[in-house]
C-alpha cells in the first residue's frame, strides 16, 4: 500500500463542540495515527478561513485525503467536498466525523465526549485510507416539469415556469383547480376577497400554452432521476398519459383535521357545531345559519381544534388564529347584533398586518376567552333550556369556570397531511415526518428541495402554511428548477453500485432486490450489470450479493470494515491506557 497523506481537521464550532470535547487533545492524538501528516484544530472549519486552511495545507503538504471532525456530514459534507475540489483533490477523498450533533451536543461528560470524539475521528482516518476518487457524472436536464397538485402552490409554480417559457404538467386529483384556497371567501390579514384572486389564477393557468392541466388525475408511476424522469398519469376515466420531465414539484396540499375525533366537542352530535371549512362555505354563500337553519345569536369560535394537544396533533397549524379573527370580522359585518366569542388557547398573530388585525378585531365587541388546550378541552353540552349548546371551561384570564351559550360553534380545525402522502412519498422518493408532512432537504438553508434530487416540496404538504408562504415556496422551487434547466445539465449520484465481472457468476440474487430495476442480467456474458443511471446507491444489492462481486462506491465493505476497526481500536487503546 503506497503511503497515504492524511490531513485531519478538528472543528471547535465556536464553543458548540469545544465546550464538551477537548478538541486540542483530539487533534494532538490523531497526529500519531498512521498516515496522518498533520492534525489541526480550528474555531470554525466551515468558515472561509477554515476552508482556506485545508486548501493551503493540501497544496503545501501534498495531502491526498482529508478528515474533518465537525458537525453532521448532512450539513457540511458538501462544503468540505467543494474545498477539496478547489484544492485540486477529488471531493470523495473526504471523510467527516460527526462530533457535534452526535457527540458534544448529546453528552454531558467532557472526558467521555472527548474519548468518543477520538474514536470517531480514528475511525474516519482508517476509513479515508480506503477512499477512492470518484468521477462526477453529468446528465442532461429535460426542460419539462411535473407538478403534482393544482392548488395555489402548484398553480403558482406552473405559472412561474410558464413565464420562462417552460412546459409543465399540472396534475390535479379533483375536477377543478384551486385546492383549499378556492374554498375561501376572504384572506387574512387584510380581508381581501380571495375568490377573484383564485379564479384569476386558474384562468391564467388555463390560458397558458406552456401548462398542460390534467384534472381528475393521479400520478401512477415515476421513474428515473433528476433531469430524466418519466411517469404515468392516469385519469379517473382511465385515460393514460406517459410523460417525460426533468424535475418534480410536489404540491399535494393538506387535509383538514377530522373534527369528529374531538371527544369534547360533539361535532356529530350537535347541529350547532360546524368546522371552519363549513363556515367558509356559509359565508361564501352569504348566509350564516346553523344546521337547523337558525340565524345564530351567540357564536363561539374555538381555536386549536385538533392542534397543539397530545391526544390529537402536537403541532400548531399556523393559520387558524388568523382565520378565526377573520371570521369574527365577517360575522360582525353579517350579524351586527350577535354575541361573538373567540375561545383561544394562545393568540398567534405573527407576520405583517396580523397583530394589527387582532387589535382592530378586539375593538369590534368580540369577547376573547382563553382556555388551556393542553389540559382538558372545553366541553360542549346541550343547553338544558333547549337553546343550542353550552360551552363549559375554565377561563384562564379570570381563572373562573364559565359557561358560554352558543347556537353556532365554529371549530378551527387544523391542517393535516393528506391521506395519500405516503403513496406520494413512495412515488417521488421523498421522506415524511411523523405527522406525514414531507421533509425538506435542510430546515433552514434548503427548505424547498428534498433529499431526492430533482424533487421539490411546496405548500402545505410540507407543513401548514398560509397562501403567501405557499406562493413564495412555489416560486423558490421554480427558481431552483430553472437554474438546472438553464444550465442544461446536472451532476448526479456517483456512489452507485459496481459489479466486478471477474467475480460475478450470474446467480441473479441482485436483480429483484433492486427497487429501481437498476440491475439486470447480461445473458451473453453470464453476469449481472448495473445501470448506474438508475442506481441510487442504497447498497442493498451489494449486501445481498453472495460472492462479493457487487460493491457500493464510497460505501465499500473495505471502507466500512476499516471504520469499525478504527472505532474499536481507539476504544480498546484508551481502555488499556486507563487500566495500566
Amino acid at each position: 500500500m503506497e503511503e497515504k497523506r492524511i490531513g485531519v481537521y478538528v472543528c471547535w464550532c465556536g464553543t458548540n463542540i469545544a465546550m464538551m470535547v477537548d478538541v486540542k487533545d483530539v487533534s494532538k492524538e490523531m497526529e500519531k495515527l498512521p498516515g496522518v501528516v498533520l492534525a489541526k484544530n480550528y474555531k470554525y472549519m466551515c468558515s472561509d478561513p477554515g476552508q482556506d486552511m485545508i486548501i493551503k495545507d493540501i497544496k503545501k503538504y501534498n495531502l491526498d485525503r482529508i478528515v474533518v471532525a465537525a458537525c453532521s456530514p448532512r450539513i457540511h459534507e458538501i462544503t468540505f467536498r467543494n474545498a477539496l475540489e478547489n484544492a485540486g483533490l477529488n471531493p470523495y477523498m473526504l471523510q467527516m466525523a460527526n462530533i457535534s450533533e452526535q457527540d458534544s451536543w448529546v453528552h454531558t461528560d467532557r472526558i467521555e465526549a472527548t474519548r468518543k470524539a477520538k474514536s470517531l475521528v480514528a475511525a474516519a482516518i482508517r476509513r479515508v485510507i480506503h477512499h477512492k476518487p470518484l468521477k462526477k457524472r453529468i446528465v442532461n436536464v429535460h426542460p419539462n416539469t411535473l407538478i403534482i397538485g393544482g392548488g395555489v402552490a402548484g398553480m403558482s409554480a406552473a405559472l412561474e415556469l410558464s413565464e420562462a417559457g417552460k412546459k409543465s404538467f399540472l396534475i390535479e386529483k379533483s375536477d377543478q383547480l384551486g385546492g383549499t384556497a378556492a374554498k375561501l371567501k376572504l384572506s387574512f390579514p387584510y380581508l381581501n376577497d380571495v375568490v377573484n384572486d383564485i379564479s384569476n389564477l386558474i384562468k391564467r393557468v388555463e390560458k397558458s400554452e406552456h401548462i398542460q392541466v390534467i384534472l381528475n388525475a393521479e400520478v401512477q408511476e415515476i421513474h428515473g432521476f433528476i433531469g430524466n424522469f418519466n411517469g404515468i398519469v392516469k385519469t379517473t376515466d382511465e385515460k393514460e398519459y406517459s410523460i417525460e420531465f426533468g424535475n418534480t414539484i410536489v404540491a399535494t396540499g393538506l387535509k383538514s383535521f377530522d373534527a369528529g375525533k374531538l371527544k369534547n366537542y360533539g361535532y356529530w352530535k350537535y347541529s350547532e357545531v360546524i368546522t371552519s371549512i363549513e363556515f367558509e362555505l356559509l359565508v361564501k354563500q352569504g348566509v350564516v345559519v346553523n344546521k337547523k337553519g337558525i340565524v345564530p345569536e351567540n357564536i363561539a369560535i374555538i381555536h386549536c381544534a385538533g392542534s397543539r394537544n397530545e391526544n390529537y396533533n402536537n403541532y400548531c397549524s399556523r393559520t387558524c388564529c388568523m382565520s378565526a379573527l377573520k371570521y369574527a370580522n365577517q360575522l360582525r359585518n353579517l350579524l351586527p347584533d350577535a354575541n361573538i366569542f373567540e375561545m383561544y388557547a394562545d393568540m398567534r398573530t405573527f407576520g405583517r398586518g396580523c397583530e394589527e388585525l387582532y387589535t382592530s378585531t378586539s375593538r369590534k365587541g368580540i369577547m376573547f376567552l382563553m382556555f388551556d388546550q393542553r389540559a382538558e378541552l372545553p366541553l360542549i353540552k346541550e343547553d338544558e333550556r333547549g337553546n343550542g349548546v353550552v360551552i363549559e371551561f375554565k377561563e384562564l384570564l379570570s381563572g373562573e369556570e364559565i359557561q358560554v351559550p352558543a347556537d353556532l360553534v365554529i371549530l378551527m380545525v387544523g391542517m393535516e397531511a393528506h391521506e395519500n402522502a405516503k403513496s406520494v412519498s413512495h412515488l417521488s422518493g421523498i421522506s415524511m415526518d411523523s405527522n406525514g408532512f414531507f421533509i425538506e432537504k435542510h430546515p433552514k438553508l434548503d427548505p424547498v428541495a428534498t433529499t431526492t434530487d430533482g424533487v421539490y416540496v411546496v405548500g402545505s404538504c410540507q407543513a401548514p402554511k398560509d397562501i403567501p408562504d405557499s406562493v413564495s415556496q412555489a416560486k423558490a422551487a421554480v427558481a431552483r428548477i430553472l437554474a438546472t434547466i438553464l444550465r442544461g445539465t446536472v451532476e448526479v449520484e456517483v456512489t452507485t453500485a459496481e459489479i466486478n465481472a471477474d467475480i460475478c457468476c450470474g446467480c441473479q440474487f441482485c436483480i429483484s432486490v433492486c427497487p429501481y430495476g437498476a440491475n439486470s442480467f447480461d445473458a451473453a456474458n453470464d453476469v449481472s450489470v448495473v445501470n448506474e443511471v438508475l442506481c441510487k446507491g442504497c447498497g442493498t444489492c451489494a449486501t445481498a450479493c453472495p460472492s462479493g462481486a457487487i460493491s457500493t462506491k464510497h460505501f465499500t465493505d473495505e471502507q466500512i470494515l476499516s471504520q469499525i476497526e478504527g472505532l474499536m481500536a481507539k476504544v480498546h487503546e484508551l481502555e488499556e491506557l486507563e487500566t495500566n
Binding site: R74, V106, R115, H426, M432, P515, T540, A544, I564, M568
Partner: protein
C-alpha cells in the same frame, strides 16, 4: 466510563442518522458509549459488519432504519429485517445472547426516540454484561 459496554450502531442516512442528528440539535442527552457508522440504507447492513463489530470488541450492535413503509429506497429496511432475524439465530447457535443485536426503526423526526433507544439499549447491554466475543476469538485453547 470506560468500563461501560461499547455499542456500535449502524444508521441509515435518511431516517435514523437524521433522527440522531435531530437528537443533537434538540440537545437531548444520552449515553456516550455509542459509536455510529453511517450507511445510506439499512439495506446495506449485513451480517459481516455486525459480526466484525463484535469481533473487534463491541458489546452490542444497534441497527436502525426507516420505519416500515418509509424507506428512502422503498424496501431496504425489510431486507435488513430479514437478515437481522437470521443473524440472531446464527449468533445464538454460537452461544451469544441474541439481544446484543437490536434492530429498531427511527424516523428523521424521532430524535427523542433515538436518545431513549440508546439509553434503553445501553442498559440492556449493561444487564447482559461485557461481550466475550473478542477475547474468546483471540484465545487459542
Amino acid at each position: 466510563m470506560s468500563k461501560d459496554p461499547t455499542i456500535v450502531a449502524f444508521l441509515c442516512n435518511w431516517c435514523s442518522y437524521t433522527g440522531a442528528d435531530l437528537a443533537g440539535t434538540s440537545r437531548m442527552k444520552y449515553n456516550s458509549n455509542i459509536r455510529v457508522i453511517r450507511v445510506m440504507c439499512s439495506g446495506r447492513i449485513g451480517p459481516t459488519f455486525v459480526l466484525k463489530a463484535f469481533r473487534e470488541g463491541a458489546d452490542g450492535v444497534l441497527i436502525c432504519g426507516c420505519h416500515p413503509g418509509d424507506c428512502h429506497y422503498h424496501e431496504g429496511n425489510y431486507k435488513c429485517l430479514r437478515r437481522f432475524h437470521l443473524l440472531q439465530k446464527y449468533v445464538s447457535q454460537l452461544g451469544m445472547d441474541k439481544d446484543r443485536i437490536r434492530l429498531e426503526w427511527i424516523s428523521a423526526s424521532e430524535g427523542k426516540e433515538f436518545a431513549e433507544l440508546v439509553n434503553n439499549f445501553s442498559n440492556k447491554i449493561k444487564e447482559i454484561g461485557k461481550s466475550k466475543v473478542r477475547k474468546t476469538m483471540e484465545e487459542w485453547t
